[in-house]
């Protein structure tokens, strides 16, 4: 019993789901749903179809090279069953999964930081350009001027006195 990977979207294909296509050169292609299969039949390249994992990895949107990803790998060496090894492996899997998630999230976060910077700059420029839409240039100035004048007069009076 294995959870296979869909050829097109790299999603999990659970047992009893999806379809498999076998080509004349004996290469098998598994698909998780008919959407993937139809795209495949249309000869679309998964590395160019934006919603697939293959695209995301190929265009650097997700973590690709990392030690935590080396744990889940298909090794063609059969290992005889040992209870302790299996139980330890399950434990290790948990930990590795946690670390993997953290790292993946951090990767994406770092990628999106630049956007935040740009957003900030955009806000500043927007305000500079179009402040007149919400605030008249001389909005509070009249009153300030008046106060100033009043102040001046008072000063003058004071001086006179």
């Amino acid at each position: 019993m294995r959870i296979e990977k869909c050829y097109f979207c790299s999603g999990p294909v659970y047992p009893g789901h999806g379809t498999m296509f076998v080509r004349n050169d004996c290469k098998t292609f598994r698909f998780c749903k008919s959407k993937c299969l139809k795209n495949f039949k249309k000869k679309r390249n998964p590395r160019k179809t934006r919603w697939t994992k293959a695209f995301r990895k190929a265009s650097g949107k997700e973590l690709t090279v990392d030690n935590c990803l080396e744990f889940e790998k298909r090794r063609n060496v059969a290992v005889k069953y040992q209870r302790e090894l299996w139980s330890k492996t399950v434990e290790a899997m948990r930990k590795v999964e946690g670390i993997k998630r953290k790292r993946q999230a951090q990767f994406i976060f770092n990628r999106l930081k630049k956007g935040k910077q740009l957003e900030k700059e955009e806000a500043i420029s927007e305000v500079k350009k179009n402040i007149h839409l919400i605030k008249a240039p001389h909005a509070g100035k009249a009153k300030v001027m008046e106060e100033k004048m009043v102040q001046k007069l008072q000063d003058v009076e004071m001086v006179d006195d």
Partner: protein
């Protein structure tokens, strides 16, 4: 080998048949329709084709005859001689020669007439030429009648000749007529030769086959030979002589001891001596036959003859040069002994055990099937008991395969704990280095304010865009100044922008607003009867008279003008039109105009 061709010679037709076949073939296989009005090259081509086709047919058939019949020089001398004896070499060659000549003549005829046909200028001329050509060819064939008949007979006889292989082991039976040669062959082989009390029952050679020492032997039965010189011999005897002369075989000279054949022993011996030269180089055995009638004990002929021949043949072969070549290449290699160590042949253990088990019925180990039979219904197929694991008590564990969407088999690695440790160390380092710290800079108030302002700006812009899109003004637009701006809206807008709009009663716009209102009212009171109140906005100039008053002399005329205007509009109003320019048709195909029979009415109304 020439042997088999004798049966595969094509039937030689008689001359009449030959002509018929060829002509009818020409008739069928070439186009038949030609008209006078065709182009001359077409007509010529048509007839030329017929001539050539006939020639081709004759040529093919005659060539086939010539190649099928064996050439006396090419076949084994035994057959050549036999054919000579039976069919006369000269006659045979002549017949074939005639056929060859006929073939060449036909070719020449065809060539000539085709050449002539090129100058035929009408259908009739060409047709005559063709007739002439075919006629000549057929006459040539008619003249070959004799040859063809002879060849047909030869062919029939040839195909019935016994297939004697001149090269294999043969036993040849010869002797006087009626001595018992055919009986012998009948006994020894499966041949069924006619045996009769009269002489010359056997008139030609017969072949039978027998087996001795796992080899096939031919036994050839000949017609009897009489004792007279070679020149006087007839065809039948000559066959026997030919066989004797050419076949390399063991000769069995059969003598009739009982003299039932009609010749005395002395006569038989004489014959034997006469034909002795023919026996040169052949193992010879004298057979005393019919000894049941007259008892003279003699050894059995068979074995001796065969052995003798075999020995003779082997001797012959050994003496031949060819054998030496083969002998040189034959060499039995035996490995030389290197030292005194005994090296017996090696038999692997498994083979030895296998052999043993085959010999003795060793009790085999208990199979699952046996167990199943024993336990009956309780039996459970438990393959896990054969598993070979590190700890035997783990055999019956339930092995997990999937955890949270991951295959455990992908993670299984003897070094996994080490790798995990490394990973965790790495992670610690990373955390220490601060990679995971989200640097959310607490933005200063200024930045927050800016953000808020930006948000407001964006909202305002969007609203403005939406408002402008909502206006939905198509066509010529009035300038902005036409619209009256309400004081309230102005003050509200400016107030939103942050300006102080309180106490603005003395402002310019407020004063103007009051003034315009009063002017309008005053004007209303001052109005004269003649002046018709018109809707005037401030934008219109007071000096220019409005259109419905310009050029109008008096109210009576104005009234009339208005009446005219109204009358004009009646039609449009009735039809629900917006104005003069409204040409909109509400119903392009009203049903009552397009349905039913065209009775009274027009296209516009019915």
């Amino acid at each position: 080998m020439a042997l088999y061709n004798f049966k595969k010679i094509m039937v030689v037709p008689t001359s009449k048949e030959f002509i018929d076949i060829t002509l009818s073939k020409t008739q069928r296989k070439t186009p038949t329709v030609v008209h006078k009005h065709y182009q001359i090259h077409r007509i010529r081509h048509f007839y030329m084709r017929k001539v050539k086709f006939t020639q081709q047919n004759y040529h093919d058939r005659l060539s086939q005859i010539l190649t099928d019949f064996p050439k006396l020089d090419d076949i084994h001398p035994f057959y050549a001689d036999l054919m000579n004896v039976l069919y006369d070499k000269d006659h045979y060659k002549l017949a074939l020669g005639q056929i060859n000549i006929a073939k060449n003549l036909i070719d020449n005829v065809s060539k000539d007439y085709v050449r002539l046909m090129k100058y035929g200028d009408s259908l009739y001329r060409c047709k005559q030429l063709k007739r002439a050509a075919l006629g000549r060819m057929c006459t040539i064939m008619k003249r070959q009648k004799q040859s063809l008949e002879y060849l047909e007979q030869v062919r029939q006889h040839l195909s019935r000749l016994p297939t004697i292989d001149p090269n294999t082991r043969t036993l040849l039976l010869c002797g006087y007529p009626n001595v018992g040669k055919s009986s012998f062959i009948n006994k020894v082989t499966r041949a069924d030769v006619e045996v009769q009390p009269y002489a010359f029952t056997t008139k030609s050679l017969f072949v039978g086959h027998m087996d001795y020492k796992y080899l096939r032997w031919q036994v050839v039965d000949t017609p009897g030979i009489l004792d007279h010189p070679l020149e006087e011999r007839n065809t039948i005897e000559m066959q026997a002589i030919t066989a004797l002369a050419h076949l390399r075989s063991a000769v069995l000279y059969v003598m009739d001891v009982s003299e039932q054949c009609g010749q005395t022993l002395e006569q038989q011996l004489e014959l034997f001596n006469n034909i002795r030269p023919l026996f040169a180089n052949k193992p010879l055995l004298i057979v005393a036959n019919k000894c049941d009638v007259k008892k003279i004990s003699e050894l059995t002929e068979e074995d001796q003859a065969c052995d003798k021949l075999l020995a003779h043949r082997v001797d012959g072969k050994m003496k031949g040069k060819k054998v030496h070549d083969v002998l040189n290449r034959l060499h039995l290699a035996v490995p030389a002994k290197r030292d005194e160590k005994a090296r017996p042949p090696f038999i692997p253990e498994g083979a030895r055990i296998g052999r043993k088990t085959m010999e003795v019925d060793v009790p085999k180990r208990k199979t699952e099937r046996d167990l199943e039979v024993e336990m009956g219904d309780d039996y459970i197929l438990d393959l896990q008991k054969y598993w070979d694991l590190m700890n035997q008590d783990e055999k019956y564990d339930v092995i997990p395969e999937i955890w949270e969407g991951h295959n455990i088999a992908d993670y299984i690695d003897p070094d996994i704990m080490k790798n995990l440790e490394d990973l965790e160390k790495e992670e610690e380092l990373k955390v220490k280095a601060g990679e995971y710290e989200t640097d959310e800079e607490s933005e200063d108030e200024e930045m927050q304010e800016i953000r808020q302002l930006a948000k407001q700006i964006r909202e305002k812009r969007k609203l403005k865009i939406v408002c402008s899109k909502d206006k939905d003004v198509h066509g010529p637009r009035l300038p902005r100044t036409v619209k009256k701006v309400e004081r309230k809206t102005l003050e509200k807008e400016m107030g939103d922008l942050g300006l102080d709009m309180t106490g603005k009663d003395d402002s310019h716009y407020a004063v103007n607003a009051r003034r315009s209102r009063s002017v309008g009212v005053a004007k209303k009171r001052k109005r004269e009867a003649s002046v018709i109140p018109t809707s005037r906005t401030r934008s219109q100039s007071a000096s220019r008279p409005p259109r419905d008053q310009s050029g109008v002399r008096d109210p009576k005329m104005a009234k009339q003008a208005k009446k005219l205007m109204k009358n004009q509009q009646k039609d449009m109003n009735r039809q629900g039109k917006k104005g003069e320019a409204d040409r909109h048709v509400f119903d392009l195909k009203p049903k009552h105009l397009f349905s039913g029979k065209r009775k009274s009415g027009t296209n516009d109304h019915r």
